[in-house]
């Protein structure tokens, strides 16, 4: 609850690498390689700044120019989602790719925002917390659009069901998703559970969240209005996500004993639930001008994106950040990925009202600085300038790679290995008994069997607006209680198809999701995707990626619905063996009245109804 400089004492513990100092000491060795930057990238930073970066600037650029934050390998392909938009596709799109999540107009002044994201690697290391914080992250994206989150979904992929490590992952991940989502009061309305040994040491934990808002509540991540205040609120900043040992140890005054940094992050769903309610109250009273969630790259990302999207600059005093761990160095504070935090821009007139909302919900906050007209992002540590950059170079003008790609030679072999007409009928069940056995075997296979052992661990009733959830093909939630208007969602993917042919595989995923939404009775309107692939530095993986994106963009054009947002997850591989390319596609559709939703399968008391098979 306290604002102000509570950490001032610690400010003196570091050898502060100021901008001035950096200009005077061009020869200083910097750990850019350990921070994941390539030599050309480091040289580019030096060129942009006209001097070597300070330790804090290096920290910012390294996290923001990472594959995860900058999309440097995927950008050139993802552009197609924008380039292939037709007027028909743009009709209801209020916000497209580029913001925290896309927004689609539902009519009657309502809009809906949704997005799917990955938390694959953290979930392998610590399944419960990795999956839990995956839900937390995607839900904050939805809040930051000005929306109330209304449901979540969780497409999951695990290794072989009988592998010794699979139980650890399945049970940890499922209870993590439930533990976090259930505590937020968000119904889980669908997802997937797939077992395939290609995901053995690289499970896929994708999480989708959907939220609804009135048009006037739409918020974007930008900082405008000179003199407006910048505030950080929610959880305190700890050493989360910085990595086991700090490579910025040079910053530390006493570098003989670097203090420990968490190996994994622990989620606090209670803090996030309070954060949701608190943000909704801020939106209701129009108390924030711009807002941004803190995910990967934390304060680096929030400050540079807010400033870069705004029309001026920003000035921030870093010693005002409330810390969970007082030993953090400035660079570490900038890189920290601590969960359950948000940053907002507030006009001076609204400061008191903002603080009142924080106090009501017992949420900690601290005022960090303000919007300026300099066009620069300036960050100080106890008054001394440690960052002075053009925010666009951090947030939006990072490196872009045209990675080489080529069709894998092995693909012909895999594709040739098809079902042969000459073998048709061989081994097919001939008798009733055999048929029964075959059906039972299919029904019992882990990928086909009933998923209620997973879904009953998820609350699908909370909110009282769930019209369909598991075991139906699409989840349906009511948006407007007056009219019954609502949305239907489905997520689908098939890594095996995409492995055989990524272009068609991605299209099949979209088509399946589209069908699931359409058969529930909704009119499909928008697409979100989570593209899970191996290393982009492998030209064959890069080809799979390029093909999948091209396939998806082409199919969206045919179906007339836009991709409004999504996420790319690369480097999903074990050693040099990539997972199957796995584009997970989510489709959202609109219902005039969810009373008209159609459940999958026939209902009880359906005696005498006719069954038709449609399509080819």
């Amino acid at each position: 609850m306290t604002a102000g400089n509570t950490n001032a004492v610690t400010a003196r513990k570091f050898n502060i690498d100021t901008v001035e100092h950096a200009a005077q000491t061009p020869e200083t060795e910097l750990p850019w390689a350990e921070l994941g930057l390539k030599e050309n990238e480091f040289e580019e930073i030096v060129k942009l700044l006209g001097r070597r970066p300070t330790a804090a600037e290096l920290a910012m650029y390294s996290v923001m120019w990472s594959e995860h934050c900058s999309y440097k390998s995927s950008k050139v392909h993802l552009r197609q989602f924008g380039e292939k938009l037709t007027d028909e596709m743009k009709k209801d799109m209020m916000v497209g790719i580029g913001e925290n999540a896309g927004v689609t107009d539902l009519g009657d002044g309502w809009a809906v925002t949704f997005k799917v994201e990955s938390h694959n690697h953290p979930s392998f290391v610590e399944p419960y917390q990795g999956a839990a914080t995956g839900i937390g992250g995607i839900v904050r994206d939805i809040i930051s659009m000005g929306a109330r989150p209304v449901a979540v979904m969780d497409p999951l992929r695990f290794g072989a069901i009988d592998h010794p490590d699979t139980a650890r992952l399945v049970h940890g991940i499922v209870s993590g998703i439930g533990g976090y989502g259930n505590s937020l009061g968000l119904p889980n309305i669908g997802g997937e559970v797939v077992f395939d040994s290609v995901y053995q040491a690289n499970p896929l934990v994708n999480a989708l969240a959907v939220g609804v808002l009135r048009h006037e509540d739409l918020r974007l991540a930008n900082a405008s209005g000179v003199g407006n205040k910048v505030v950080l609120f929610g959880a305190r900043t700890g050493g989360d996500g910085i990595g086991g040992a700090s490579v910025l140890a040079s910053e530390s005054f006493d570098d003989s004993k670097p203090s420990k940094r968490p190996a994994v992050q622990v989620g606090d769903p209670f803090a996030e639930k309070v954060l949701i309610e608190c943000c909704l109250e801020l939106f209701k009273h129009s108390l924030v001008e711009g807002i941004q969630d803190l995910g990967a790259a934390g304060i680096s990302c929030a400050t540079s994106e807010l400033a870069s999207n705004g029309d001026g600059g920003m000035q921030v005093e870093l010693t005002d950040v409330l810390l969970r761990d007082p030993t953090l160095t400035p660079g570490e504070i900038l890189m920290s990925e601590s969960q359950e935090r948000m940053m907002a821009v507030v006009t001076p007139e609204n400061v008191a009202a903002f603080e009142k909302v924080m106090d009501k919900w017992d949420v900690e906050y601290s005022w960090l600085g303000e919007v300026t007209d300099t066009g620069r992002l300036v960050i100080t540590w106890d008054g001394e300038t440690i960052v002075d950059v053009d925010p666009r170079t951090v947030a939006h003008e990072g490196p872009v790679y045209h990675r080489p790609f080529h069709r894998p030679e092995w693909l012909d072999g895999v594709q040739a290995d098809t079902f042969r007409a000459s073998e048709a009928g061989k081994g097919l069940p001939a008798t009733g008994e055999e048929l029964k056995a075959a059906v039972l075997e299919l029904m019992a296979s882990p990928n086909m069997c009933d998923k209620s052992w997973v879904t009953r661990q998820y609350d699908h009733y909370v909110g009282g607006n769930t019209a369909l959830a598991s075991p139906d093909d699409a989840g349906v939630v009511r948006v407007d209680e007056e009219t019954g208007m609502g949305v239907g969602l489905s997520t689908d993917a098939n890594g095996r198809y995409a492995y055989l042919d990524p272009y068609t595989g991605a299209q099949l995923a979209l088509a399946e999701s589209y069908r699931n939404v359409a058969t529930s009775g909704a009119v499909p309107m928008a697409v979100t995707d989570c593209l899970n692939f191996g290393s982009p530095e492998d030209p064959e993986v890069m080809w799979q990626f390029a093909e999948a994106v091209r396939g998806l963009a082409d199919a969206c054009q045919v179906l007339g619905i836009p991709v409004t947002g999504g996420n790319v997850s690369l480097y999903n591989q074990t050693g040099t063996t990539p997972i199957h390319p796995t584009p997970v596609v989510g489709v959202l559709g609109r219902f005039d009245d969810v009373a008209r939703r159609t459940p999958s399968g026939w209902q009880r008391n359906a005696d005498g109804q006719a069954i038709y098979l449609l399509g080819t």
Partner: protein, 259 residues
């Protein structure tokens, strides 16, 4: 061509409004089902009044005629379910009003039930489900006491389907307390069929001796609107069995107190 036929008639019967009655719905930090409880109150024909946990003014309860403590994870349930919420300033007022001569009707649902046991308004406690997992399912209950403020619209022995969803739902108390509850007819609901969390003697809900304070783990507020709740096991139709809790309390209020 005519309109697509409705698969199910999702519209509920229009309940007779008794809109004069005000029913408070408490929100603690981490409460999840407050909006659902308010909707149930409205569908039953009364007016929901939001109450804030931190309100410590003498008039904090306003002029509400009854109070619902809804479900959720107050304070994350991190210490024990309901353990921290129990100390909210508003809880002091509610405990006093429930114990006063006026016998304010109080219903605790799930986390609300846990808050009531932590406040010692109801005996016993809840521990982790015997299978250690969160569970969400359509649950059949048998009404064992139909004379409390919240159950008088049911019949003894009636089976109702509402929603069960919890992680710490196993009701425990020592044998003496359990015998007392049984002897005094204070077991209000029992699980039918499978016991979903290992609760002693299949107890799903209990009442205080006066019948104005009732707590249960399952969620009646999720079974009030056709199309958005559980399916009843025998008919396969949507169950609105939960509405009876809210119409019961209105009947109690009309009658001028607990039966």
């Amino acid at each position: 061509m005519s309109e697509t036929p409705l698969i199910a008639d999702l519209r509920g019967p229009e309940p007779a409004p008794l809109s004069g009655a005000k029913i408070g719905v408490v929100t603690f930090p981490g409460t999840l089902d407050d909006r659902d409880a308010a909707r149930a109150v409205r569908l039953a024909g009364a007016t929901p009044v939001p109450l804030w946990h931190a309100d410590d003014s003498p008039t904090a309860l306003g002029d509400v005629d009854a109070v619902v403590l809804p479900g959720g994870f107050s304070y994350g349930d991190y210490l024990r379910a309901g353990a921290i919420a129990r100390f909210a300033p508003l809880m002091g007022r509610i405990v006093d009003a429930a114990n006063s001569d006026a016998k304010l009707p109080v219903l605790g649902i799930c986390n609300g039930f846990q808050v009531l046991t932590e406040s010692h308004l109801l005996p016993g406690s809840m521990i982790k489900n015997d299978h250690l997992k969160f569970i969400c399912r359509d649950q059949v209950l048998r009404v064992e006491n139909a004379s409390t403020a919240w159950t008088n619209q049911y019949e003894v022995g009636q089976e109702i389907t509402i929603v069960l969803k919890n992680q710490d739902g196993q009701y425990v108390a020592d044998e003496k307390t359990l015998d007392e509850l049984e002897g005094e007819g204070r077991v209000a609901f029992r699980y039918v069929g499978w016991n979903p969390n290992g609760s002693r003697r299949n107890i799903a809900g209990i009442t205080n001796a006066a019948g104005n304070v009732v707590g249960l783990m399952p969620h009646p507020e999720h079974a009030v609107e056709p199309g958005f709740g559980p399916l009843s096991t025998d008919s396969g139709e949507y169950s609105t069995d939960g509405l009876g809790f809210f119409t019961s309390v209105l009947t109690t209020l009309v009658a001028g107190g607990t039966k």
